[in-house]
Amino acid sequence: MTEPLLSVRDLKMHFPLKKGFRRTGTVYAVDGVSFDLRKGETLALVGESGCGKSTTGRTVLRLEEATAGSIRFEGRDVRALSKKELFTLRRDMQIVFQDAYSFLNPRLTIGEAIAEPMEVHGLYDRAERARRVEELLDIVGLSPAYAKRYPHECSGGQRQRLGIARALTLQPKLIVADEPVSALDVSVQSQVLNLFQDLKERFGLSYLFISHDLSVVRHVADRVAVMYLGKIVELGTAEQVFGETAHPYTKALLSAVPQHEVAVARERIVLQGEVPSPIQPPSGCAFHTRCPVATELCRVSVPALDEITEGHFTACHYVEKGVSA
């Protein structure tokens, strides 16, 4: 088999918790995550708010320095790269941030913001850059008139699309897309998702697609990783995760999706108990405090991420091999 584009092993990101200068604890934001991403593949990362999706994405791109683990991109050890090497690598690895406001420079117009990465990397001349800016705006469904606007003169969805256009400027190989369509109405969302699909087919672009919108994930993802409290609890092809759902947490997650066809109201599995804090993750299986089928075993022993059928992994004591309940 060919080598994966991105290979992440046992990735950990622990934030120190401080009160003043005193260290009072640790946030186990990402706690031993492993996955591979092949060229031209979309791997979706889903899970409850605060489970560590964004942190995983940012750490993979080294926007944050991991606490432990290995990250390989095209076989190279990303964590060992020098600043200069990292700069070059950034051309190939881009991110669409969850919070469009946090990365936009308020003093740059939209046109300038999209052109900036090309300038920084010394690509193309002025005229060509301008042409590309226009093309990118069109691709994300904004008229060229928006190039002269400032971020604060745009609506939430317009800013989100700006973030997408910016990530595409350098024609990267990998995009970490952190909730890229969350602020978009369905039609613009379709446009962006179709675009992602086209780029994938034409250029073999790969995505780490972070989203809580499972109906979107269902359609764009080749494989899906479900996270809970900093760990992956289920991983498999989209068909496996949606069709042969194994982990109790994934089942609860899927049952909560609202649908606008009021008729198809499904039985909702409402999770009992509070979301535990990543500062003191529960013992054993971290999900045991809310799991409808948990037993004493779950409280004391950590289930391993086991392969139950080919390519379908899950971390639960009560999912048997070859059986997907």
């Binding site: 708010s49 008139a145 602020a183 613009v188």
Partner: protein, 337 residues
């Protein structure tokens, strides 16, 4: 009479700030938008990105950016025109009687204050709570919006929180003074479905408990269907359809609403490509005499060169399309009306 909120024919336009010249043409933002809401009612506001949903809400909150100006209409709230109120009285309404969950958490949360300070601020100002009382209530609120370890988050800065946690902090702030009207601008976009269900449940509970009315802005039609009695659909700065949720989703009258529903991805079937409405929303500079949906509309004819006005179809249904009456219920309702 009887309306809690009555926005009538509200128009807002932008001017370029740096060019002070008075005769510079204003860029239109929204045109003649009317929104009414009863006490305790939930209204959904949907529409293509950039159509003016946030702008309309900011106007009700009295938080328009400096470059925006109200060029017509009124905003009635509990019998008073908010646009006529002096700033001091407006401040008493904002945050206390009308709360808002902002679309972009980072624009409304300050990076320099802890979460706790930001939650306590409104309660201390509007409800005159002591620091101790405000802290107690603040922690309760964080708990209610489903934040694990509220004590930890209370002392943290927004930058240390995940996207969904920030959003929930903002929700806690918006409901802290138990407003009569809550404007929720994409309140659950950053939230996973389980947390989303919990938040919607909480909002629903507040409505029943305190008779709070709510304007819910969301592009998630599933959420709208679950929460709202009525829906307003906007397109390019105008209201283009209004009606009761069930009827509007079941049998949309306006071609844009029809396309919007067709574009919704479903969980139960896998599709290779997503349906997208061809073309783009025209920027304000291209808003002319024709229907603003013309270039993208599959039903357009020469008649559409003249912009249609909001056509009343009966049963509280309205649509801005010459052919709106052509849907089955549309026809029926037009006859009945």
């Amino acid at each position: 009479m009887g309306h809690l909120l009555e926005v009538r024919d509200l128009s807002i336009a932008f001017r370029k700030l740096e060019k002070k010249s008075k005769d510079l043409p204003l860029t239109p933002g929204i045109d003649n938008v009317s929104i009414t809401l009863q006490k305790g009612e939930t209204l959904g506001l949907v529409g293509e990105s950039g159509c003016g949903k946030t702008l309309s809400s900011l106007a009700v909150m009295g938080l328009l950016p400096d470059s925006a100006a109200v060029t017509g209409g009124r905003i009635g709230f509990d019998g008073e025109d908010l646009l006529e109120l002096p700033e001091r009285d407006r401040n008493k309404v904002r945050g206390a009687r009308i709360g808002m969950i902002f679309q972009d958490p980072m624009t409304s949360l300050s990076p320099y204050y802890t979460v706790g300070n930001q939650i306590m601020e409104g309660m201390r100002y509007h409800l005159a709570l002591s620091k101790k009382q405000a802290r107690k209530r603040g922690l309760e609120l964080l708990q209610k919006v489903g934040i694990p370890a509220p004590e930890r988050v209370f002392d943290e800065y927004p930058s240390q929180l995940s996207g969904g946690m920030r959003q929930r902090v903002m929700i806690a702030i918006a409901i802290s003074c138990e407003p009569d009207l809550l404007i929720a601008d994409e309140p659950t976009t950053a939230l996973d479905v389980t947390t989303q269900a919990q938040i919607l449940e909480l909002l629903h509970h507040l409505q029943k408990e305190n008779g709070m009315a709510m304007i819910l802005i969301s592009h998630d039609l599933g959420v709208i269907a679950e929460m709202c009695q009525r829906v307003i659909v906007m397109y390019a700065g105008q209201v283009i359809e209004e009606g009761r949720t069930r009827e509007l989703f079941h049998d949309p009258a306006h071609p844009y609403t029809q396309a919007l529903l067709a574009a919704t991805p479903r969980l139960d079937t896998k599709q290779e490509r997503f349906y997208q409405i061809p073309g783009q929303v025209p920027p304000p500079s291209e808003w002319g005499a024709a229907c603003r949906f013309l270039a993208r509309c599959p039903k357009a004819t020469h008649e559409c060169q003249h912009a249609p006005s909001l056509l009343t179809l009966g049963g509280g249904r309205q649509a801005r399309c010459w052919y709106a009456g052509d849907t089955s219920t549309g026809r029926e309702e037009a006859r009945r009306a």
